[in-house]
């Protein structure tokens, strides 16, 4: 963790909200991306990310500075998103209903942006087939490169449960991809007229 961030965290633990706002700026993308992958909706992701930081701010005194802050904050985000998903069933909405997603360095080519949007929809559609906890484990493993131990600590699972969930999730994703490749994804490619993946 950079020294500056450590200093901000110390100040935040003493009740300095300005210092915590600096921490928010550093981790906003990571938390927002996690919430977006979990919930699949930009507005809900924004709300969940905001709420995650509020909860973190309230519980900042209990944060152990010897541990990684990003692991801690993503653990809060994971629990919040899982709670939200359990409260209501998230329905897969069509791409037309979704506002454009802010993408880092989208590239100068409009076709590449369109292709990215299609990929986003495919990912969202794929992640939706997983259970809430499996989805969180996959996101932590592939987007944040968390170790099995970090995932286990963040989600409150045993190490063997994490391995088993990740394996099951990979199998589910691969099978769903095979099943949908010729139907849903194929139709999307035809609709947008982009080349096959």
């Amino acid at each position: 963790m950079p020294e500056l961030e450590s200093a901000w965290l110390i100040l935040a633990q003493e009740g300095d909200s300005e210092a915590f706002a600096k921490v928010v700026e550093v981790h906003q993308s990571a938390v927002y991306n996690f919430c977006f992958r979990m919930l699949g909706d930009p507005y809900e992701a924004e709300d969940a990310a905001q709420e995650t930081f509020i909860r973190a701010y309230k519980a900042i005194k209990s944060y152990d500075r010897t541990r990684s802050f990003s692991t801690w904050i993503l653990s809060i985000a994971a629990h919040y998103c899982i709670d939200q998903l359990r409260r209501k069933k998230i329905q897969v909405t069509s791409m037309e209903d979704q506002p454009y997603l802010e993408i880092r360095d989208p590239g100068p080519n409009p076709e590449s942006v369109l292709s990215m949007r299609e990929d986003q929809q495919r990912i969202r559609s794929l992640l939706n087939v997983l259970s809430d906890t499996d989805r969180a484990a996959i996101i932590m493993f592939y987007w944040y490169e968390f170790s099995y131990e970090e995932i286990a600590n963040s989600l409150g699972l045993s190490l063997s449960a994490v391995k088993s969930r990740l394996h099951r999730a990979r199998a589910r994703l691969a099978k769903t991809w095979s099943e949908r490749k010729g139907s849903v994804f194929g139709l999307e490619r035809q609709t947008y007229g982009s080349p096959a993946v």
Binding site: A21, Q28, A30, Y32, F36, A45, I54, R104, M116, W177
Partner: protein, 183 residues
């Protein structure tokens, strides 16, 4: 050996032993379903690994600070409401307790409804007699006071009294009902 082991190897992120890898390679060449699974997972993994980081719209940290401030205001209002309700409840509770004590004391002194009636009449008669005595005693004094003090002083006294009543009412109202803050 069944598909389950090969599937497990295909989806594993741990490196395989050379002999296991060879067995898997031979199996995938002959088994269509395992080959499909292998390619499907490769495509999914590539898709996930190439996925960009979704960014929030600009001003996220500012929006967070505003949300935190609003939350603090909401909590303050909730606390004030709680204190107000506690104050009102305590006052009502104390009044009820006094009433209960009075009722108990009153009924402890009488035994029949007739005695209650007689006690009530006696109480009101006593009250009227007291008022009459006070009237007789104080009217001459009041007459002296009213005639000796100039009307300007009376005017000032009544205005001051009226203002103090308004101020007291406003203070009580402000204490019991917290000010509404637009969120």
């Amino acid at each position: 050996m069944g598909h389950q082991l090969y599937e497990s190897w295909l989806l594993s992120v741990e490196p395989l032993m050379p002999e296991d890898e060879k067995m898997l390679h031979e199996h995938v060449e002959t088994c269509q379903s395992c080959r499909d699974l292998f390619f499907a997972w490769q495509e999914v993994e590539n898709l996930i690994r190439e996925a960009p980081i979704a960014e929030p719209t600009p001003g996220f940290a500012d929006r967070w600070q505003i949300r935190l401030e609003n939350l603090a205001i909401e909590q303050k209002l909730r606390r004030q409401n709680l204190i107000s309700w506690w104050f009102v409840s305590a006052t009502i509770g104390a009044a009820l307790l006094v009433l209960l004590v009075m009722v108990i004391v009153f009924f402890a002194t009488v035994q029949t409804p007739f005695q209650v009636f007689v006690s009530g009449i006696t109480f009101f008669a006593g009250l009227l007699a007291l008022m009459s005595t006070l009237q007789v005693a104080f009217i001459p004094v009041l007459e002296v006071i009213l005639t000796s003090i100039p009307p300007v002083i009376w005017f000032i006294v009544f205005v001051a009294l009226g203002l103090s009543i308004i101020l007291t009412t406003y203070s009580i109202r402000k204490y019991i009902f917290p000010r509404r803050v637009a969120l």
